[in-house]
């Protein structure tokens, strides 16, 4: 008798457990509002759009995907709360999100503790270096941006440069990475200035950089309106040295804010997404980039941004891993993500492994130059 009851209980348990597997729940925490909303808003729109597309195409192995998306408003402590809720109450199998480095670090703590795979959308190298078992990320690191820029400078014979950086998190982090990378790449930083990201005028700093003897080029690390002000002040002072900016300003808004005339000749590393039409027809990223651009612009009626592209890539990687994974267990999904090989996204071609949770190399960055108010690929 006792055995029968146990058996029945076990059956009942199985029966109740089965529907829970029927819907595959995907969690997302992004900064749809708040100071990082210009990044998080296209990310949220992209994630929603891609889950809809996924279900329209029949879902994952015939199961419907269900999205649970929370808006952390850019606040890391809220991000942590929402990540915990996703894992403990909503029962998601994987998470994407973490618009900023701060919120990503908060979410990855939860992901690692509860062993749920997490794909971050933020830039800082700390997220995946050292490698954490359950955390991946899609954007390039700021260290790679410095490498790409320095490679281009050296190709032009520019080795003595001035550095000017925003004091915000992104600007400060990239400044530190560039200083570290410069030591090993034969670039000498002869000036090192900073500015507040909301300052109205940076001519004193630029005047000091201009006066450094032997200086050959200037690099600005930062995103938002600061770099546009730098670009306008640069033209105001009539400085003719080549000016490089970070990937943080890779958008048409930057050209608009700087003024096309002032931004002429500015170089920066960006993703293929920005210059989809300019890519070589044989480029494997071209169809991916153009398809995402078309569907996003139709769904959101706003121009695509690099940040939405990060979310697109994360969702692609996750979808592929869910399709490949033998079960919906977190560890199996994690192994499937680590097995991602040659997946072409908008940001680059991803090759994850047990020791590489970034999966991109320098070829993912394209060196762009602003020309006649638009973008030009630097060959």
């Amino acid at each position: 008798m006792k055995r029968i009851v146990t058996g029945a209980l076990a059956l009942a348990l199985l029966a109740t457990a089965a529907p829970a597997l029927a819907d595959i729940k995907i969690g997302a925490v992004v900064s749809e509002t708040g100071p990082a909303s210009s990044l998080g808003d296209p990310e949220a729109k992209t994630i929603r759009m891609m889950v809809e597309e996924l279900n329209a195409k029949g879902g994952i192995k015939g199961e419907k995907a269900k999205l649970v998306l929370y808006d952390d408003g850019g606040d890391p402590s809220k991000a942590k709360t929402f990540a915990t809720r996703l894992v403990e109450d909503d029962g998601v199998v994987a998470m994407v999100g973490g618009t900023t480095t701060g919120t990503s670090l908060a979410i990855l703590a939860v992901a690692e503790e509860s062993k749920v795979p997490f794909i971050s959308l933020a830039g800082a190298i700390e997220i995946i270096d050292p490698v954490k078992p359950f955390t991946f990320k899609t954007p390039h690191t700021d260290r790679m941006a410095c490498q790409k820029i320095f490679d281009d400078m050296k190709a032009r014979g520019l080795t003595k440069i001035g550095l000017i950086s925003g004091t915000d998190g992104f600007g400060a982090s990239m400044r530190a990475q560039c200083i570290a990378v410069a030591k090993t790449s034969g670039i000498e930083i002869v000036a090192d200035e900073t500015y507040g990201p909301k300052d109205a005028d940076m001519t004193p700093q630029l005047t000091n950089i201009r006066n450094k003897p032997g200086i050959q080029a200037v690099l600005n690390t930062g995103f938002g309106q600061g770099p546009a002000t730098i670009t306008r002040n640069y033209a105001q002072l009539g400085i003719t040295l080549p000016l490089y900016q970070s990937h943080g300003v890779a958008s048409n808004a930057f050209i608009e804010l700087s003024g096309a005339k002032n931004a002429e000749g500015v170089r920066l590393p960006g993703t293929a997404l920005l210059v989809g039409e300019l890519l070589d027809p044989k480029d494997p990223q071209k169809p991916v980039v153009l398809a995402y651009k078309a569907s996003f612009e139709k769904a959101a009626s706003a121009p695509v941004s690099t940040f939405g592209g990060y979310a697109h890539d994360a969702m692609r990687i996750l979808t592929e891993a869910l399709n490949k994974a033998p079960s919906a267990k977190p560890a199996a999904i994690r192994d499937a993500i680590e097995g991602t090989n040659g997946l072409v996204g908008t940001t680059g071609t991803y090759n994850y492994s047990k020791t590489d949770h970034l999966g991109l190399d320098l070829s993912a960055f394209r060196m762009l130059e602003i020309s006649n108010g638009g973008w030009k690929l630097v060959k």
């Binding site: 509002t33 100071p35 909303s37 210009s38 808003d41 200035e193 900073t194 500015y195 507040g196 909301k198 300052d199 109205a200 005028d201 001519t203 004193p204 700093q205 005047t207 000091n208 006066n211 938002g224 309106q225 546009a228 002000t229 306008r232 033209a235 105001q236 002072l237 009539g238 808004a253 608009e256 804010l257 003024g259 005339k261 002032n262």
Partner: protein, 290 residues
């Protein structure tokens, strides 16, 4: 030599921006003793609404006028719906209300307009003017001229007109002002409208230099408040001097010491001044006449 001149040009440009915000603080402070922390939002609204107007195809002067009128109306609404009902509560509560209002305005702007950063075209082109090796953008001259013009107008208003004196009287003693026949309710409404309009005008003037977005008011209010404190709260002369001084300190620190310490040095000097002159450079000592 040309370096020093360039630093001074930069300092005056930035200082004029701060002074414009600080001037807006003086009016509401003079009428009600309240530091209106939504002042930065008035500046932001001036810029954002003008940008929306220009994007809708209006000529810039018309878009600017609409922006100033709308912002003044929002200032009146702030007084009518938030400040006036709380009349009689301590000044601190009123200040907290203005902080709440600033968050509210920011949120609504984000939804009604957008979250992007925008810039207005410069009024007289972007070709820099060369002066003894330094370069000045024509828009900087507009901002400086705007700050000086508003300062002169306010100075005349507070010292030469009956209405200006009524504002000061209301601030000094609301009950006594009422007893001598001043319509203090109107004075308050008028002050909020005027302060919002000046903020909006400042926003229109500075947006070609400092691109605007829904959240720019926070930084502006902070710097403008520092400038007003430095010069002496409630005094137009103090607002102008405090703003220019703060801008010059920042520019000279960035130029001669280190850009890393730019903000720190400025705030250190403000603290030092406030220790020496607690009411700011042009603050008057309170005189209680019985």
């Amino acid at each position: 030599m040309s370096d020093l001149l360039q630093f001074l040009v930069s300092g005056v440009t930035v200082g004029a921006v701060y002074a414009l915000v600080a001037l807006g603080f003086t009016i509401i402070y003079n009428a009600s003793d309240v530091v209106n922390f939504a002042q930065g939002e008035f500046v932001m609204l001036g810029g954002m609404i003008s940008v929306a107007g220009v994007a809708a195809g209006l000529p810039l002067p018309l878009a600017a006028l609409i922006a100033i009128a709308l912002t003044a109306a929002i200032g009146v609404a702030l007084n009518t719906f938030a400040i006036e009902p709380a009349r009689g509560t301590p000044v601190v509560s009123l200040i907290i209300i203005t902080i709440g209002a600033s968050i509210f305005i920011r949120g609504v702007t984000q939804i009604v307009l957008d979250k992007g950063t925008h810039r207005l075209p410069s009024f007289s082109g972007d070709d820099p003017i060369r002066v003894l090796g330094a370069t000045v953008l024509p828009q900087s001259l507009w901002v400086v001229a705007g700050a000086v013009a508003i300062f002169v107008a306010l100075w005349l208003f507070f010292t030469r007109t009956l209405m200006g004196r009524a504002v000061l009287a209301t601030s000094n003693n609301r009950l006594a002002a009422q007893l001598v026949g001043i319509n203090t309710r109107f004075v308050m409404t008028f002050s909020f409208a005027l302060s919002a309009a000046i903020g909006a005008l400042a926003g229109v003037l500075i947006t070609p230099i400092l691109p605007t977005s829904f959240e720019i008011g926070i930084t502006l209010a902070l710097k403008g408040f520092a400038a007003a404190m430095l010069g002496g709260m409630g005094n137009p002369k103090g607002a102008l001097a405090g703003g220019l001084l703060l801008g010059l300190m920042e520019a000279l620190t960035a130029g001669y010491i280190s850009s890393h310490y730019k903000d720190a040095v400025a705030f250190f000097v403000i603290l030092a001044v406030l220790f020496a002159f607690p009411r700011g450079l042009y603050g008057s000592n309170p005189v209680e006449r019985v």
